[in-house]
Amino acid sequence: MTLMPPRTPTLIQLLGLLVTLAAVGSFSVFTLRQVEELRRLGSDIVDRNRRDSLQLIRIQDDVAQLGLALRDMAEGAEPYPMEAYRPQFQRLREDLENALALEARLMPATRTEAQQRLLETVFARFWTVVDELWLLASEGKPEAARALIRTRIEAERATLATLISRLLIQNNEAEAAAVEEIQAIHAKVERNLYYLLAAVLAAILITGSLVIWHDRRMFAQVSHLSEQRKELAGQVIRVQEDLFRTLARELHDEFGQVLTAVGMMLLRVERRLPEGAPGREDLREVREIANQTLDRVRGMSQMLHPPVLDDYGLERSIEWYLGQFEKQTGVKVHYQKSGVAPWIGDAVAIHMYRILQESLNNVVRHAHVTEAWVRVSYAPEKMEMEIEDHGTGLPEKPQESGLGMIGMRERAELLGGRIEFRRRAGGGTVVHVEAPLGVKGGKG
């Protein structure tokens, strides 16, 4: 995997939000427009049409009433003179005029000017003939009046009735068309609602998947980095160990032999000089210094990489080191061993050894105690080691634990084992380390 600088997902999320907002926004605008159109259709066409139709029905009803009254007059159904019908006609005429005025105000757009003019003309003609009727009636010519009703008046009335029926039908048709249009708008809005839902869902889906993909990539990168770091730490430790080993060997082999030779030669020269001869004392002092240096070099070599580890294995090395440690620091170490140590590979051995070394150094440095406990247990498949002191314990804050503990952790990880730093209940620290003892004995 290539290591790209991780891109922020905010951009993707913003983009998704933008898409969603745009979809909702455009849909809102669209819906508002459609609602406006619906309102227009509803109030301007349908409502108006209905109110107009109500007036037309009222006119139709009045015209029908006129027809009934005219029939009564023509038939002489009531024992009253024709003129007695005048107030009834007058009322119907007033109602008609009122209805016609209202109707003219509500007149739908489908009405042509010619139609409106025709309506007015026919009504005017009708009332003119009706006036003729009253004239004949007042002149006492009922027969002529009846004839007039049967011929011209009824014809005009029938024309009116037809005309109004036609207008009503026209209104109905206009209304039906408007209703159809309204239904189409409803369908369109519904369809667009589905589109909106789809768009929003898609935006959510894309944004979501991009974010998830991005997260997965981040995790992969993080774990990769962690692997790399582990490897690096392992290498550093290995290099260090190699260096220590080389240094130890060099110190032991080169300086040790040189110093031994120097000591031998100085002894030989010293023995050749007579007792009490001048310089003999100086030589002895130089030889002493050389011997001391040799001891120091040997000690350093052993500290860097105890040869006992290579020669006798981990178990003996631990015992040897603990002896050395007690001698050098004066801290009493209670050592406890259980199980039988199998063959332990170099790699495991050096890391376990270093962990013991570091832990005990920490006891000396931080615990301010005179006693420590070391427990080692071996099993065929793993070994466990516990270093315990009853001192001041681990620092409260983990960052204060220092580089030593990080090193121990790195080593435990290199071994494929685990390490645990515990505060003891009664005060002090327990370091517990566990390492598998496979054939390879870990990575190192």
Binding site: L68, A84, P87, Q88, E94
Partner: protein, 556 residues
């Protein structure tokens, strides 16, 4: 939510004693049987469902023998020709002055069969004895009261002969103020047995038709010539209108000009308001002043009608009963003479939506000085519940109590079990038959019995009863306006004949006073133009006021 529930609970708590439990202060006790009223209406129905069968019939309280006790007249229809089963004449019951009545039909000479529907009673010849006009299917009848406890059919000689129609309500009144009662007769539709139309709710069985099926017909106005005869002035007076399908008529003076106007309730046609032009002519103005239609401009099925000064404002309110699925109309006039239907706001609209109302009148059963409202209901066809689930043939009445501010609440259920029971009611009238000062109620049902309910008032209220006798005015004082004042109470009442549907209430005026001790002032505007004023009438008193001669206690 919690708050609303709390408030609702609180409201219920407060409302319960005010509206739920508290009675109206009186009960209507069914005394029909005890009083000896055994009348049963015969519609003549034999299965053909002729339209007139479902329309009748009316009733009246009147004092035919002048003894000061209200007698009862119940109009009857009859079997159809060719389907004769029994004789069913109208019935006259004389008040025995002890809470019971005696059937005096035969003795009074009224044992006559006719297809009667409505009734109006007035002393048209001013002889001191009330005469009876019965509106009929076919020829209506005029019965002259001889003053000896008998009646004589004078239809033929009266000039009312040869006026055959489907006459429904009728009303005596003096439109030309000549001191003689004239007669207004409403006609329903042009119906004949041969021309009967098949109507149905379910498409199979025949049902009674609504009037759309038939052509309208004019109402009639007859002027009293003063010689025992009448002149048909329908045309001359400008009343002719062949589009009307009229069922109810009432007298009112909506413009307070002292001249009687006429309101006609039309079924599925615009109502009519005939304004008296004071020259023997009328001008129909219902559309112009807002009485013709419902507030949404529809002509409703007007049945019964009454008009009165309901809120004691001096302005008239008009109740019109309508079909089910229609609210009743409660029109109230405003100061500029326009009428507005206040039924929904007044608490009457919703309450009457499912009722098919016929008889109705404003009266004061609790004597609190405010006019309350009785509406009796009943559907036209027994098969209606098959067609519409929430509508029944028999329907309970509405008894709306007036809170004094023009708002009403229905207390019929609290007024008595029999009273509140569903009925196929048609006519209704009030009158104080036991002379105890409160108003009793008579209800007729279609093809069923009549019911007499005695008012048992227990709220301690009292009133003043005035019996007006005209001298220069018509003797019944019909059209007289009584203006009254008591402490914190003032109003007007009008004396009139027909009320509601096919029926007539008693003529005496009852003015409820609540717990007041006296009526401070009464002003009477006689139809003759004379005005008289009387002061300090004691509560509980019954008085006779004779025009020009003063006031004295009623002897009865």
């Amino acid at each position: 939510m919690l708050r609303r529930e709390f408030l609702a609970g609180l409201g219920g708590l407060l409302a319960a004693p005010a509206f739920g439990q508290q009675g109206p202060g009186f009960r209507f006790t069914d005394v029909t049987r005890a009083a000896g009223i055994d009348f049963v209406h015969n519609s003549g129905a034999f299965g053909k469902k002729y339209l007139p069968e479902t329309m009748g019939s009316g009733c009246a309280f009147f004092d035919y023998d002048g003894d000061g006790w209200q007698d009862i007249l119940l109009i009857n229809s009859m079997d159809w020709p060719g389907h004769k089963r029994r004789r069913t004449p109208l019935k006259l019951y004389r008040n025995n002055r002890n809470g019971t009545f005696t059937d005096v039909t035969r003795a009074a000479g009224l044992d006559v069969e006719m297809y009667g529907l409505g009734v109006t009673i007035g002393d048209y010849d001013n002889d001191g004895h009330p005469d009876i006009f019965v509106s009929c299917l076919g020829q209506s009848r005029l019965f002259h009261n001889t003053g000896k406890g008998t009646f004589v059919d004078v239809t033929r000689s009266s000039g009312l002969w040869e006026h055959e129609g489907f006459s429904t309500s009728a009303m005596w009144f003096d439109y030309d103020r000549d001191g003689l009662l004239d007669l207004f007769v409403t006609n329903y539709v042009r119906w004949t047995q041969e021309g009967d139309i098949f109507c149905s709710f379910d498409g199979n069985s025949k049902a009674y038709c609504t009037p759309e099926a038939y052509r309208g017909v004019t109402c009639w106005l007859f002027r009293n010539r003063g010689d025992g005869t009448f002149e048909d002035v329908t045309a001359k007076a400008g009343v002719l209108d062949t589009t009307s399908k009229s069922l109810g008529v009432t007298l009112l003076d909506f413009n307070n000009d002292g001249w009687p106007d006429v309101f006609v309730a039309n079924d599925t046609q615009p109502n009519k308001l005939y304004t008296n032009l004071r020259n023997g002519r009328f001008l129909e103005q219902a559309v112009r002043i807002g009485l013709a239609f419902s507030e949404d401009g529809r002509a409703r099925a007007g049945m019964g009608v009454d008009a009165a000064d309901v809120d004691n404002s001096g302005l008239v309110s008009i109740i019109v009963t309508n079909f089910d699925n229609e609210m009743m109309g409660l029109y109230r006039s405003n100061r500029d003479g326009q009428f507005v239907d206040r039924a929904p706001q007044a608490g009457i609209g919703q309450a009457t939506r499912h009722s098919l109302g016929f008889g109705c009148f404003f009266f004061d059963p609790d004597l609190d000085g405010m006019l309350d409202l009785l509406i009796v209901n009943g559907h036209i066809d027994e098969s209606i519940s098959r067609a519409r689930r929430n509508v029944t043939h028999a329907q309970p009445p509405h008894l709306f109590m007036n809170d004094g501010k023009g708002n009403f609440r229905d207390v019929s259920r609290l007024a008595g079990e029999s009273f509140a029971a569903p009925k196929v009611a048609r006519g209704a009238a009030y009158g104080d038959f036991d002379n105890d000062g409160d108003l009793d109620v008579l209800i007729t049902t279609n093809n069923g019995p009549a019911y007499l309910y005695r008012n048992d008032l227990d709220n301690g209220h009292r009133g003043v009863r005035l019996r007006l006798t005209g001298t220069k005015s018509n003797r019944d004082a019909i059209g007289a306006v009584v203006k009254f004042e008591a402490s914190g109470l003032a109003g007007t009442r009008i004396v009139k004949s027909a009320t509601g549907y096919l029926s007539q209430c008693e003529l005496p005026v009852t003015i409820g006073l609540g717990r007041r001790d006296a009526l401070q002032r009464v002003t009477i505007f006689w139809p003759s133009g004379r005005t008289e004023e009387y002061k300090n009438l004691k509560a509980g008193g019954r008085f006779v006021v004779e025009e020009g001669k003063g006031l004295k206690p009623d002897r009865a």
